[in-house]
């Protein structure tokens, strides 16, 4: 469907800034209108007014009041623009605005003088708008920009990588150097081995040198040494020794004399002190002295035994006095033992009788009897008590006797013993009561049977008791046990008396025997024996002392004899030493002058001898060292020196190589222990990773932008046919096919137009085109886009060329005019505004040449009659451009 043209019929500026009066133009429905007028006559204001009416959102000025009349097909529409708003009416009825192209495309329908010059800031904006519109409202440039990466992204990472690489290279160089050093090790070790081998000869060579030197020195010393060889037999101190020996000899002789004198004196003393006593062994005297002391002990024993005998005899005599009226003999110990047995039997029978009596009494209901007719105690306790009583009695007697003999304190002990005896004798114990039995007949019979048996046994025992009393002469009325114990005591005392007598006799015999022995010994030593043991002891001690003094004198004599012998030996030694001195010196005894000469020659001899010794030692040492040396022998000292110099050199070389090897091994060990390569490598790897990450960002951005490019390219392909091709066609027509229009979308400043100059063979940017060509390019682009937009919108608004062809040459003007003619033929209304009347003529001529209708010319000077000219251009200031809405949002 073809679009309809919206033709301007009338335009009146009712009120406009800068114009004092309203004025109007009438096109009379002409397709082409040329409005001519001088500068500031209101041409641009008319154009602005027209666009304000058509696109009030784009060209809004609240101070403007405009009315206009249009023809749209068969309809005549009135438009009134006031307060920035345009209202439309058709035959007095308000109607919708015609479907004009979108606001942002409005400028495509007007080419102003500024754009023609290419100085308009919005040529690029226009291009962007065109591009964006072509892109369906998307902004590829912005999308591309948001996906992009900074221009120098990765520069810092690259720098860090370079640094890490340099660090690693430095370490690697160091390691490479040490690797080379390590490679040298084998050679160095070989050299070290060879040098050590040669250097090892050095000690042998030194030994060879010392051997040769020692031999030479010995050859020099030995003849001189022979000359003073006699001095070898003496020493430097020979004369001193001679004098010392002589002096010592004299001293020793004096000592000998003194000792011989002392010996004589001691002999005389010994003879004086020895006396008439025979010389006996001191041990014999000591043995006798022990015998004498034993004799003293035996003497004391005799006295003690006599005292004991006297006590026993006294006690026996007293007993004999007390028992002088009795004729019976003392019972023997066996009889006493039998009596003890009888006593036990008696007590047992008595206890049974008592128990039986108690039973019988209980059976008869009476109290049992508690007394006994016979009371010898048979139990162990009774025997212990009896024994204690005996001890107390003996103690009493002994204490009394001791008090009489030794000390009155023993009377106290006697008193204690007597008290104990009294308490023991007065002691008695009650018999225990039996337990009452039952009183049955069998029991009674049993008891009675037992009682009879017991009575029979008691009768036997009573008879036996009478026998004992008779035998022991016991008196009736006294306790049998006490009497028997008294008999036992008396028997003991009699035994003790006999024993004491026997001991005393034995002691006296032994005493006499020992005293006789001592007396005989003293008599043998010409000593009159003393009468007492103490005297004998004193005599024996005197003998012992005499023997001791004698022994000491003899010992002194013996020592003096030894000293005399030693002194004699010393004298002989000194004499021998003196003789040896001369003999050693090769002289006869007494050749003192010759000896002195030898001593004077001693110093030079010793010096030569020492020197010879040193050389001999050196020679021996050298030969020892050379024991295993089977190698080379020098023919001369020079040859030896040369070889030694070589060995020294090799030794130095070995030291040097040893140091080098050590240094390399240390360096290698240090590097093996480090991890600097690992660190540097890790740093490098991290830096590479960081840079790689940046590159990935770049790649990602490139891939994302690739999509934008792809889509944009696809969009270009899809829109080039209707619009750009038309624009290119027009532009090529305008420029006589010298230029082809291009739309650059990927520039840094966004999309823009370019021209490909076929003469120059390259693309030329808008600012580098000539003014005319630039205008033609814009004209072509806008016309093409305007046509397309109008076709799509359905309405073709008037196309306004505001002095667009002022600088265009005739040829190109014709080309433009041809295009305009085509538009006119298609039904477009073209309004050309110019200040040049020549342009009016050009349009008229071209219309004539192309058989077109002459344009309707409106002279503003006439229309306005100059009175209505605007006061100034600034009064017709246009409002600021609003933001462009997206096409799809319309």
């Amino acid at each position: 469907m073809s679009a309809r043209s919206l033709e301007l019929l009338e335009l009146e500026l009712v009120h406009a800034p800068g114009f004092s009066e309203s004025f109007a133009i009438h096109t009379e429905a002409a397709s082409q209108v040329v409005i001519v007028g001088p500068n500031e006559s209101g041409k641009s204001s008319l154009a602005a007014a027209l666009f304000s009416v058509l696109w009030p959102a784009q060209e809004s000025n609240p101070n403007l009041e405009i009315t206009a009349r249009f023809r749209l097909g068969e309809r005549t529409l009135r438009a009134r623009h006031r307060s920035g708003h345009t209202s439309w009416s058709d035959d007095g009825l308000e109607v919708q605005a015609p479907p004009l192209p979108a606001d942002e495309i409005a400028r495509c329908f007007r080419i102003s003088v500024d754009e023609r010059r290419g100085e308009g800031a919005d040529t690029a904006t226009l291009a962007a708008v065109i591009v964006r519109a072509l892109a369906g409202g998307y902004d590829f440039a912005k999308a591309r920009e948001s996906l992009g990466v900074p221009a120098r992204l990765g520069e810092a990472e690259r720098k860090a990588l370079n640094q890490a690489r340099e660090a690693l290279n430095a370490i690697a160089s160091d390691q490479e150097r040490w690797k080379h050093e390590a490679d040298k090790l084998e050679v160095l070790r070989e050299q070290l081995g060879e040098a050590k081998l040669l250097a090892s000869e050095l000690p042998m060579l030194d030994a060879l040198g010392r051997e040769r030197s020692a031999r030479r020195e010995l050859q020099r010393i030995e003849p001189r040494l022979q000359e003073v060889a006699g001095s070898a037999r003496v020493s430097e101190r020979e004369l001193e020794r001679l004098a010392a020996e002589e002096k010592r000899l004299e001293q020793r002789r004096e000592t000998l004399r003194k000792r011989e004198t002392a010996c004589e004196h001691s002999k005389r003393q010994l003879e004086a002190q020895a006396g008439p006593a025979r010389r006996v062994d001191s041990s014999q005297i000591c043995a006798r002295l022990a015998d004498a002391r034993e004799l003293l002990v035996r003497e004391s024993d005799q006295m003690r035994l006599r005292a004991e005998l006297q006590v026993t005899q006294t006690r026996h005599a007293r007993w004999l006095e007390n028992s002088s009226d009795r004729e019976c003999a003392l019972p023997s110990p066996a009889e006493l033992e039998r009596f003890a047995q009888f006593s036990d039997d008696w007590n047992a029978a008595l206890a049974q009788a008592l128990a039986l009596a108690d039973v019988r009494a209980l059976l008869s209901g009476s109290v049992p009897a508690r007394t006994a007719e016979f009371d010898p105690q048979s139990s162990a306790a009774a025997r212990l008590r009896t024994t204690l009583l005996v001890v107390c009695a003996v103690t009493l007697v002994s204490a009394i006797a001791a008090a009489a003999l030794f000390h009155p304190l023993f009377y106290g002990l006697a008193a204690l013993a007597a008290a104990a005896l009294w308490i023991g004798l007065s002691d008695s114990k009650p018999l225990p009561l039996p337990t009452p039995p039952d009183s049955s007949a069998p029991t009674r019979a049993l008891v009675e049977g037992r009682a009879r048996t017991l009575e029979e046994r008691q009768a036997v025992l009573a008879k036996r008791g009478q026998e004992f009393k008779s035998r022991f002469g016991l008196q009736p009325g006294l306790p049998t046990a006490v009497q028997v114990e008294s008999l036992r005591q008396r028997a003991n005392d009699l035994g003790l008396l006999e024993a004491a007598r026997a001991k005393l006799a034995a002691a006296e015999s032994a005493f006499d025997e020992l005293r006789d022995l001592l007396t005989a010994f003293l008599s043998s030593q010409a000593v009159e024996p003393a009468g007492t043991a103490h005297g004998l002891i004193a005599q024996l001690e005197g003998l012992l002392e005499g023997q001791s003094r004698r022994a000491k004198l003899e010992e002194d004599l013996q020592r003096l004899g030894g000293e005399i012998a030693a002194a004699k030996n010393d004298v002989l030694d000194s004499e021998a030493a003196l003789a040896k001195l001369y003999i050693d010196a090769g002289l006869r005894a007494g050749e003192r002058a010759a000896l002195e000469q030898l001593v004077r020659d001693r110093a030079p001899f010793l010096s030569l001898a020492d020197e010879a010794k040193v050389q001999q030692h050196a020679l021996a040492s050298a030969l020892h060292e050379l024991t295993d040396w089977q190698g080379w022998r020098p023919a001369s000292d020079q040859e030896l020196a040369q070889r030694r110099a070589k060995a020294v050199e090799m030794s130095a070389l070995a030291d040097q190589r040893h140091g080098e090897i050590g240094g390399i091994e240390r360096g290698i060990a240090e590097r093996r222990a480090r991890d600097e390569v690992e660190n540097a490598r890790a740093n490098l790897h991290a830096a590479e990773a960081a840079l790689e990450q940046r590159r990935e960002q770049v790649f990602d951005a490139a891939l994302a932008q690739l999509f934008i490019d792809e889509v944009e390219h696809a969009m270009e392909i899809s829109v080039q046919d209707p619009v750009l091709i038309r624009a290119q066609h027009m532009f090529e027509e305008f420029t006589g096919h010298r230029h082809t229009l291009q739309l650059a979308t990927g520039g840094a400043n966004g999309p823009d137009f370019k021209s490909h100059d076929h003469v120059l063979g390259r693309a030329v940017s808008l600012e580098n085109l000539s003014s005319g060509t630039r205008t033609q390019l814009l004209l072509a682009a806008r016309l093409a886009f305007a046509v397309d937009a109008a076709e799509r919108a359905g309405v073709r608004p008037p196309l306004c060329l505001d002095e667009a062809l002022a600088t265009t040459d005739e040829t190109r003007f014709e080309a433009v005019a041809d295009v305009v003619a085509l538009l006119l033929k298609e039904g477009w209304q073209v309004i050309y505004l110019t200040s040049q009347h020549t342009d009016v003529e050009r349009w008229r001529r071209r219309a004539f040449d192309t058989n077109m209708l002459a344009p309707r010319v409106i002279d503003l000077e006439k229309v306005r009659q100059l009175a209505g000219a605007p006061a100034s251009v600034q009064d017709l200031e246009l409002p600021a451009e609003p933001a462009l809405p997206a096409p799809l949002a319309m």
Binding site: G136, R158, E176, E678, H685, M715, P887, A889
Partner: protein, 432 residues
């Protein structure tokens, strides 16, 4: 025990910048030396008969001194435990291993000077086997090691195990190209244990395994999966039983999250924590013994919470690495590949002829393997990358980008979504 590429002297990358502060660990604790020490300790504990290196034991740059010293110290315990040590030289240790062999009598270099060599090994309680090996004679070897003659099979051995360092099925490689059929053709060899490629590919269950042992420990975030030495037991019948010990102190894992159900940015952190917990449980169960695990996170899908998620992901760019430390195990995010986008109906959008529609058509085309448009796009993308690569900042510093078509397609998809996002933002009248 077979040990793949160790690369002593190289430090692992992709670790958090504040590793020490977070966990007290250093890069050294997670590096090849620590891994080798673990392997050696395991070998001593298991009382293996032999410890076999498959080349690239040391990093070439510092093989001269540092790595050599470290290697000597590491394998001393093996010698003390009377464990025999074998190795073949790889392209990185052409110089080091021969020197080690000459200065360390317990170490035996197999196949020195590029000549195949067999070495018979009597197990302590097991059968006699032979190790067949070949060592790099120079840093670059463009011909297959199998062009050199191999020795006859040793007698009285129940199995021959092969170890070699090289590029499998890459005929143009300068690192000893190996053809699988050559390996298979050497019929007396019961299994081939290869070095060079760091991703393990040995199939332990195969009757006649042929594959890479992989690096002993992950060296960068691309070396995902289990890493560690392999214990190969040989039965009297010659049958092999193979087990990998995941002793690497550092591991990386790829993890993908579909963000379609996410309603806010916190969902990302929750998903991450769940992954961390899974790793921790695996460690507790003894499945691995890594001290640090890094995750290569890939996010894909469309979510209404796109902007909130973007803000959360920006934290990663700001260096907050979303790490967590559990009882000696550090979990961290090594990388995030963000392929998320706003919920857009591409099919509907592609019906439009405006730029967004045209872009949507291209995104759809990229999702179609057979699309000619996609192929064109990939071609142009490669041109664009080649044009961008020689920027002054990168020229001479980085090697040329070697991307496969699949990688380019993937990158293009991500870039396309980003371009669509940015383009839509420029559209007139688009709601903010």
């Amino acid at each position: 025990m077979f040990c793949g590429d160790v690369h002593l002297g190289r430090r692992p990358s992709g670790l958090p910048l504040d590793l020490k502060e977070q966990s007290g660990l250093s890069a050294r604790d997670l590096g090849p030396k620590a891994a080798l020490e673990r392997a050696v300790a395991e070998a001593c504990r298991e009382r293996v008969d032999a410890f076999v290196f498959a080349g690239d034991v040391v990093q070439q740059e510092n093989s001269v001194f540092e790595a050599f010293g470290a290697l000597s110290r590491c394998i001393e315990p093996l010698a003390r435990a009377a464990i025999r040590i074998f190795g073949v030289a790889g392209n990185h240790d052409v110089e080091t291993l021969p020197r080690l062999a000459s200065s360390f009598p317990q170490f035996q270099l197999l196949g020195a000077k590029g000549r195949w060599e067999d070495c018979v090994l009597q197990g302590r309680s097991g059968p006699r086997i032979a190790l067949r090996g070949w060592s790099f004679p120079a840093q670059h070897v463009s011909e297959s090691p199998f062009t050199h003659p191999r020795p006859d099979a040793p007698e009285d051995v129940c199995a021959v195990l092969g170890v070699v360092h090289g590029d499998l099925d890459d005929a143009r490689s300068r690192y000893a190209p190996l053809r699988r059929r050559d390996l298979e053709a050497d019929s007396i060899v019961k299994g081939w244990f290869l070095g060079h490629i760091h991703k393990p590919s040995l199939d332990a269950s195969a009757q006649r395994p042929i594959g890479y042992l992989g690096s002993l420990s992950a060296l960068d975030r691309t070396e995902t999966g289990r890493h560690g030495p392999w214990i190969v037991a040989v039965e009297n019948s010659g049958a092999l039983s193979i087990e990998q010990r995941a002793l690497a102190p550092l591991a990386f894992e790829d993890v993908s999250f579909d963000v379609s159900d996410w309603t806010d940015g916190a969902a990302f952190e929750q998903a991450l924590r769940a992954k961390y917990a899974a790793v921790r449980e695996a460690r507790a169960s003894g499945a691995n013994s890594a001290r640090a695990v890094g995750f290569n996170v890939s996010l894909y899908g469309a979510t209404p919470a796109f902007k909130a998620l973007r803000a959360k992901l920006a934290e990663f760019d700001e260096g907050r690495l979303l790490s967590a430390e559990f009882d000696g195990l550090l979990c961290f995010v090594a990388d995030i590949d963000d392929r998320t986008h706003e919920p857009v109906d591409l099919m509907r959008l592609a019906l439009s002829t405006d730029p967004a529609g045209l872009l949507a058509r291209r995104l759809l085309a990229l999702q179609d393997e057979s699309s000619l448009l996609a192929q064109e796009l990939i071609g142009r993308a490669l041109e664009s990358i080649e044009a961008s690569a020689p920027r002054r900042e990168f020229l001479g510093a980085l090697g040329p980008p070697l991307w496969s078509d699949t990688q380019v397609r993937s990158r293009l998809l991500r870039a396309g979504w980003r371009a669509l996002e940015k383009l839509e933002a420029t559209r007139e009248g688009r709601p903010a």
